[in-house]
């Protein structure tokens, strides 16, 4: 099994390396391939069980394929994520949680995105409106972009509060001028390992809607609502999660500086409101020439699940509906990247340094408090790394149909030096 995955990795990287980014005219088939990987050395103090830990890993290794045909009416979005090979035990990240991992960000499934979109299906029959339908495996229309497509390398604590990913999803979207409305049905279950697929039997037990407005180029506001049935218990015996998300996002040129900013608020209620988890996050980045400083503030709540003997992992599947506490992480992450690759090229090589400082506080005095788990309420991590990307400009994970290319100025990416 592992050998086959390594073979898959080699083939994917080979394809990515020999295929240049290609964006062809709209009346011909369009194919665009991109790839990315980040070499990362991270040191964290304190870790679960106390003490410090330093690890070197390759994170976010993805190969992305966008293809279009029929004058742009048919679009394919595919993202192969190879974290199952490079970080099978997760990426060291204080506060991160989800899919059975704690203080390690979980590896994503290999088929991260695999979707087909039909765009403007009614043509002139709905006037200026545009109806799209998307189906496949990927993100439900809820919340903000996948952190993988954002400037800060370290995943936020709120990943599972502000995104709904790795689902078998059918999305109907309608665009009227600068306003987009999306609604989706999908399966509620989250994966528990990288090679796991959504449970087809649960398709349709969860839904989400997202309303997005783009009042100006590169400026976006959105509000999302979702009901997810039993997300952390795959057979479906878990409680429902009801989610809200509000976001304001900007990604545009101001003079010679490319500015990116995101502010979001998320709230998840589980078990009829018995548990409530909230998140507030604001992040920004400024790209000028080769320089890119960035910063993120986050205050997010995390449920503490029953751990295994490996304190980075929690028991899956859950045995009951209890949690061991709620921890609020208040984190400041600051980073700086310097692009060393050729200018105006699809290739990005960006060494960076990134540090996170903050605190973890028990909200409810449960039995798994930061004091017990880490021996401290301080959070400290430092990372250095090299981001290598080819042709990833403008790829926002989690936006499909008419929203695929929306929300940023064409041809721009905060990843790319100018």
């Amino acid at each position: 099994m592992i050998a086959s995955h390594r073979w898959l990795l080699r083939v994917a990287l080979l394809v990515a390396s020999v295929t240049p980014p290609l964006l062809q005219a709209q009346d011909r088939p369009e194919v665009r391939i991109g790839t990315q990987a980040i070499g990362l050395l991270t040191s964290v103090e304190d870790i679960p069980g106390r003490g410090s830990l330093t690890e070197a890993r390759i994170v976010q290794p993805v190969v992305m394929l966008h293809a279009g045909a029929l004058h742009g009416h048919l679009r394919f979005t595919g993202t192969l994520n190879l974290e199952g090979q490079t970080i099978p035990r997760g990426e060291l990240a204080p506060g991160a949680w989800g899919e059975g991992y704690n203080d390690r960000r979980h590896p994503h499934t290999y088929a991260h995105e695999l979707l087909l979109s039909g765009i403007d299906l009614l043509g002139p029959f709905d006037g200026a409106g545009r109806l799209s339908l998307t189906a496949g495996k990927g993100f439900a229309p809820f919340g903000s972009d996948d952190p993988m497509s954002r400037p800060v390398v370290r995943y936020p604590v709120n990943h599972h509060l502000a995104q709904v990913l790795e689902r078998a999803v059918v999305i109907a979207g309608y665009r009227a001028g600068p306003v987009f409305l999306e609604g989706a049905l999908f399966n509620g279950d989250e994966p528990e390992r990288p090679d796991q697929w959504p449970r087809v039997s649960r398709f349709g037990d969860s839904w989400s809607v997202r309303l997005t407005a783009l009042p100006a180029m590169g400026v976006e506001f959105s509000v999302s609502r979702a009901k997810i049935h039993s997300p952390e218990h795959r057979p479906g015996a878990g409680k429902d999660a009801w989610k809200w998300h509000l976001a304001a996002r900007a990604d545009r040129m101001v003079g010679r500086v490319r500015l990116y900013g995101l502010a979001e608020w998320a709230r998840t209620e589980e078990a009829d409101g018995f548990f409530v988890f909230s998140s507030l996050l604001a992040e920004m980045a400024a790209r000028r020439g080769r320089h890119r400083p960035y910063y993120r503030f986050e205050r997010s709540d995390r449920p503490e699940d029953l751990r295994t003997l490996d304190l980075f992992r929690s028991v899956r599947p859950h045995l009951e509906n209890s949690i061991l506490g709620i921890t609020r992480f208040t984190l400041h992450t600051v980073g700086y990247g310097f692009a060393v690759g050729p200018r105006a090229s699809p290739l990005v090589l960006e060494p960076f340094v990134e540090a996170t400082l903050g605190s973890a506080q028990s909200l409810d005095g449960g039995v798994l408090t930061p004091g017990i788990l880490y021996g401290t309420t301080s959070v400290r991590s430092l990372s250095v790394g090299l981001r290598a990307a080819w042709g990833m400009a403008g790829h926002r994970m989690g936006r499909y149909g008419d929203l695929l290319d929306a929300g940023h100025e064409p041809g721009m990416s905060h990843d790319h030096p100018m």
């Binding site: 218990h233 057979p235 479906g236 015996a237 409680k239 589980e270 078990a271 018995f274 548990f275 029953l306 751990r307 295994t308 003997l309 304190l311 028991v315 599947p317 859950h318 045995l319 009951e320 509906n321 209890s322 949690i323 061991l324 506490g325 709620i326 409810d364 005095g365 449960g366 039995v367 798994l368 017990i372 788990l373």
Partner: protein, 579 residues
């Protein structure tokens, strides 16, 4: 405010013009005014007549209009008017008498002079309750409570008049007439809802107690209660600081308690407690099993020879069997590892052999039955494995009379014949007798009550484990199920403890008492004698949080030699006296 007054008048005008004007909406109105003179704003006892309502009709200027017809009607609040119409006299005056209905509240009467520009006025009066005619007990009667402590439910009396209207402002006098103790106030006044309440603190001695509630002119009401002894901490506590406590068992002068999760150490220990002459525990040894994260259940066999625990959360998940070569001296003999873990294990002798009924955790949950008869030679033989639908799986099993009651979370209750013979089942081939969903939907554990007083085997107590924040909050009730017909169990009663949820049970069957671990609610004793039906709130005998609020989260309880032993996740191993 002005709008609020004008709006009803406008609506009345609209309706009156429709009602009175008929098809006359095109007829021109005549200049004139109708105005109230006397009678508005009265208050009177329901069913009685008011002072007359009088209006004056004037024409142009202030000249009175004689001979004008005024129409009267009750708009709201019921009651009646003495005449539907009256005619103005030379002074322009017309009047009627209104009678308040039998229901308290506002009564509105309108007077209309048809054809005038300003043709409508209303009179509003209030009907008040008649004198008290009936007093009834509405809450607090028949409770059982801890002596010298307030009862959980306040005593409440509702006072009504002859028409059933609640009567506010009535004095109710309270008097303790049996058992001692005190009421919080000797008198209380009925509220707007006609209710008077008082808190009753029972006397210092156990036994029958009574309080009377008296309303002047009415027969006294008697509230009864039973005062019982309370739980009292005898010893223990704060004795497992490095780990969180889990399940327990007590046998032959020794206690055994498990641990779970992660505190400063993993929950891989079984603590061994020696009980002294008064039953007080002293930690004398521990079994540490590397490779497990939680000791999920623990039990000693009926003959005292075998100590068995189940394990989760590590690489050594499964069932571990120790031989007690002497009480308190375990020697490892056998284990059977189950990858996902075993959540509980229940021991029972069937056909002369000792078996362990274990709950295999998801993903493929099952009831696995082990034959322990060869454990001394290191052999544990699984004799059957019965799959359970893969939700949260089985949480606990209760075995008695050859039946296994399997508590399977969302699935509910399964009853298997595992040797009784009624359905041809055996431990090697369990036969399902029934499957019943419900019981709050999160079916966790149970106890089949064999009542030696009545010889009934009627009731099965089921614990519901709802959502909880371990260490701080919990939810879930006790459900009482009539299993007179094992093929068709029916829930007949339940008990809810506000602010806490139930976990494991123990019973003192001769005393007809159920003891329940109640997580952050501590320990609870319930009177389960007689017929059980509906809300069992009044069956609460006593409740105690041995570690105190914030340091109590009780996993399990067990009665032994007259003491109740408690394993608290936060505060350790305790010995309590029982009520």
């Amino acid at each position: 405010m002005k709008t609020a007054r004008l709006l009803p008048r406008f609506i009345l005008l609209m309706f009156s013009s429709m009602a009175c004007g008929g098809g006359d909406t095109n007829s021109p109105a005549v200049e004139g005014v109708i105005a109230r003179v006397t009678g508005d704003g009265q208050s009177a006892t329901v069913g009685t007549a008011l002072q007359p309502y009088q209006v004056k009709v004037t024409g142009q200027g202030t000249a009175p209009t004689a001979g004008a017809t005024v129409q009267w009607a009750v708009v709201s609040g019921g009651g009646s008017v003495s005449a539907a119409t009256s005619v103005t006299d030379a002074a322009g005056l017309a009047e009627i008498t209104a009678t308040i209905s039998n229901v308290i509240g506002a009564q509105v009467v309108r007077a209309v002079a048809p054809g005038l520009i300003d043709s409508l006025v209303t009179f509003t009066s209030t009907g008040t309750a008649d004198v008290p005619a009936l007093a009834q007990k509405t809450a607090g009667d028949g409770q059982t409570g801890t002596k010298a402590l307030p009862l959980s439910t306040a005593l409440a009396v509702r006072v009504t008049d002859q028409f059933g209207n609640v009567v506010a402002g009535v004095t109710v006098s309270w008097l303790v007439i049996q058992g001692g103790g005190a009421v919080a106030s000797l008198t209380s006044i009925t509220s707007g809802a006609g209710l008077a309440t008082v808190t009753w603190t029972l006397g210092a001695s156990a036994g029958a107690s009574a309080v009377t509630a008296t309303v002047a002119g009415l027969a006294p009401l008697t509230f009864t209660a039973t005062a019982v002894n309370s739980f009292v901490v005898l010893s223990g506590g704060s004795n497992v600081p490095e780990r969180y406590g889990s399940d327990l068992w007590v046998a032959d002068g020794y206690g055994y308690s498990g641990t779970w999760g992660f505190r400063s150490r993993a929950g891989n220990a079984v603590k061994i407690w020696q009980l002294n002459g008064t039953g007080a525990p002293t930690l004398v040894d521990s079994i540490i099993t590397v490779g497990i994260g939680t000791v999920s259940d623990i039990e000693v066999s009926p003959d005292g020879r075998w100590l068995v625990f189940t394990a989760e959360g590590g690489s050594e998940n499964g069932i571990h069997v120790f031989e007690l070569t002497a009480p308190g001296v375990p020697v490892f003999r056998a284990k059977s590892l189950v990858g996902t873990g075993l959540h509980t294990g229940t021991l029972a002798v069937i056909g002369g052999k000792l078996y362990a009924f274990t709950a295999k955790d998801p993903g493929s949950p099952a009831l696995i039955i082990y034959d322990l008869s060869q454990a001394a030679s290191g052999v544990l033989t699984p004799v059957s494995s019965t799959p359970i639908p893969p939700n949260y799986g089985i949480h606990d099993t209760f075995v008695r009379d050859g039946y296994a009651f399997v508590f399977a979370w969302d699935e509910g209750l399964y009853i298997f014949d595992v040797g009784n013979g009624s359905n041809g089942g055996s431990v090697a081939a369990p036969v399902q007798v029934s499957h019943t969903a419900g019981f709050g939907g999160e079916t966790h554990n149970g106890w089949w009550f064999h009542n030696p007083t009545t010889n009934e085997k009627k009731y099965l107590f089921i614990g519901e484990e709802g959502p909880g924040g371990v260490g701080t909050s919990s939810s879930g009730d006790i459900h009482v199920v009539d299993v007179s017909n094992l093929s068709a169990p029916v829930e007949v009663a339940s008990f809810h403890l506000p602010g806490a949820g139930v976990h494991n049970f123990w019973m003192d069957e001769p005393a007809q008492r159920l003891y329940a671990a109640y997580y952050n609610g501590g320990v609870v004793a319930l009177d389960v004698s007689g017929t059980l039906s509906g809300n069992l709130g009044s069956r609460l005998i006593s409740q105690l949080k041995p570690g105190g609020t914030g340091q109590t989260y009780v996993w399990g309880v067990m009665l032994y030699n007259g003491s109740l032993y408690v394993s608290d996740m936060l505060s350790g191993f305790w010995q309590l006296s029982v009520p």
